[in-house]
Symmetry: D3
Subunit: 141 residues, 6 copies
């Protein structure tokens, strides 16, 4: 069996549906309302989030896999999806106690949770779609 040396990226797409509210408790209500607009609604609103997790590294020549995407799916589900799906991010998810659940900060939390479960040799990059028209990318910098 011919075994090429190659470095590649493998990505997996997962989804979760959650409520959230953007709010900085150190700001006045007026500043929160003015800055965050509709996203500051005290009764929350919500989104179908789409998360794309990209892992980069060497492909194993024996299996032809960079990593088993079923394994990556399981990591994403246990670390992110099952914690965030059908939840209120502000009230139900301890990661956002004291952290404003903007898409940027959700990406930060998701990246660090997944990072801990991955082999150190793998590079991790995530993309988080809050809507079809707004999305965030984060790679740990």
């Amino acid at each position: 069996m011919f075994v090429p040396y190659m470095r590649a990226s493998a990505s997996r797409v997962e989804r979760f549906n959650a409520a959230h509210r953007l709010h900085n408790p150190n700001w006045s209500d007026e500043k929160n309302a003015s800055f965050f607009g509709l996203c500051n609604n005290e009764n929350y609103h919500g989104h179908n989030y789409r998360l794309i997790v990209k892992v980069t590294g060497e492909v194993d020549p024996e299996s032809g896999y960079l990593l088993d995407l079923k394994l990556l799916k399981d990591i994403i589900r246990s670390e992110v999806t099952q914690r965030f799906d059908h939840k209120n991010l502000n009230l139900d998810v301890p990661d956002f106690k004291g952290l404003n659940p903007t898409a940027e900060n959700i990406a930060y939390v998701a990246w660090h949770r997944i990072r801990k479960q991955l082999d150190n040799k793998l590079v991790l990059h995530i993309t988080l779609y809050e809507t079809e028209r707004n999305f965030i990318e984060y790679d740990g910098q």
Copy 2:
């Protein structure tokens, strides 16, 4: 100018992002939790809803339009999107006082709101995507 007689449908796609909770106050907490599962979360969760509004009728031979889709867009926005977007459907939208905000019931409310603003000669059908994999259709029956 040649003017064909034709009957057609014209559709417009709009979106809104909202929080909701599925709950029947006449049921016990146990029955609600068992029946609605994660959707019964008392702190709410949320979705990016996609609404497709289809209007059927005769095309005006002078303009070549069934109806002006900018007009249909304005009706959808004033009747549905601006009322539901970035809202908690249970708490912020009077239409759901006493009405469980399932996708079926959201479609019911949206259809009746849009229906009132349309010419009686036009037939109305709506499709409401709650997620990319779950959607409801309703035509007033």
Copy 3:
């Protein structure tokens, strides 16, 4: 070979990219500008049109095909796509001499062109997307 009797629909998606201008020569310039808005631009604008052609009829039990979708693709291309693609609908396509190229009227022309090439036993329905958010359906009524 087990041969079920069944009636079904088979659809094929094709695309074309064209320029057009909406204008009724029997109206004043003011009325055209007011009614058609940006679509009345005298220098034209354009779209990537997406056409979904649906044919309904009995499935041939020998082949298991309602009709060969390669054949349907060839009909759509020769009757519609090759005539409209990379064209100015108002200036280059004789079908729109004297016919305002609204999405409704483009659907009318496409339906009648395809209809002539199909077996009479088949029912024809088309959907024409002018943008991802605006589309027309027509079935010959």
Copy 4:
């Protein structure tokens, strides 16, 4: 709780990935090759199939559900997805012993399998995408 009487449709999207070959054993090899073209490849080819299952009926006023889409998902998975996914339809799936696995016939099998598990009051319609550009609809006629 206000309980509207309404009749609606609820749809669920599922996917499966399978190999198949189109072939009629009663035809000569030449006729098979000429009629089915590349799809007649004796070594098989494959697709990511997308199945949209639409159920129509009355909405239960107590729950606000037409039916629980988790239940519909389970029916689709046990009756269709788990039987067809990552399979060779010609060799691995008994439903296609003696039945050419065209998209039309796959839709026929899927519809009848799902139909048996549904309440008689519900109307069933399915759409099967073989590719993003070719799809079949079937409702039991």
Copy 5:
């Protein structure tokens, strides 16, 4: 409030529909027709363009935003969309006087227009889809 230091990217998707013609006035008509093919049609054709604007920089720990995507949306609309939408790029848009409106050059113009409105600390990358199958990326190099 816990305030992570992070560097991320935030993207916004916008659309515009325009007519254009590819043509180099320094070339003969024959060379233009041969090189640009159908895109050289003297009467123009058109597209639904999709523009993805990605901005990279430090996230503000107070707000949790890299930048307000409503602000980015407003910049894209005033600098690009409102100038190009429902226009003939060759005739109506001064940016293309003397500049062939290929997707590459449209991306160049859009990038430089948006660049002027952004804080110098932010990195800008754009993707321009001319069709669903053809797209350009540009980052100012």
Copy 6:
């Protein structure tokens, strides 16, 4: 004609539908079944693969093209699509004699085939979607 100096990327999307089986002949049947799971099915399964080919380089100021995407389309079709489409990758495609047709290895083969046909000044990156949720990126490293 104003001629900007610019470096950009141009991408083209193509598709092919194929059967495959993941298997390492140096492993026991048990290890193959355990490691590759459903993908090890000895009768094959299949996918609609989507390939995005991105080329990066300088834009020619005369034409305003990085390269003619029709030319890139022809290279992709002759080097990849026509060889893989409606084929069994394990049995019909010599590139996979002795090479396990994982998405990683398919990307490797596609990249090297396209690379040979491109000008040395152009940088090549490809993305291969095996399903809508799993995809690989490769750039020759």
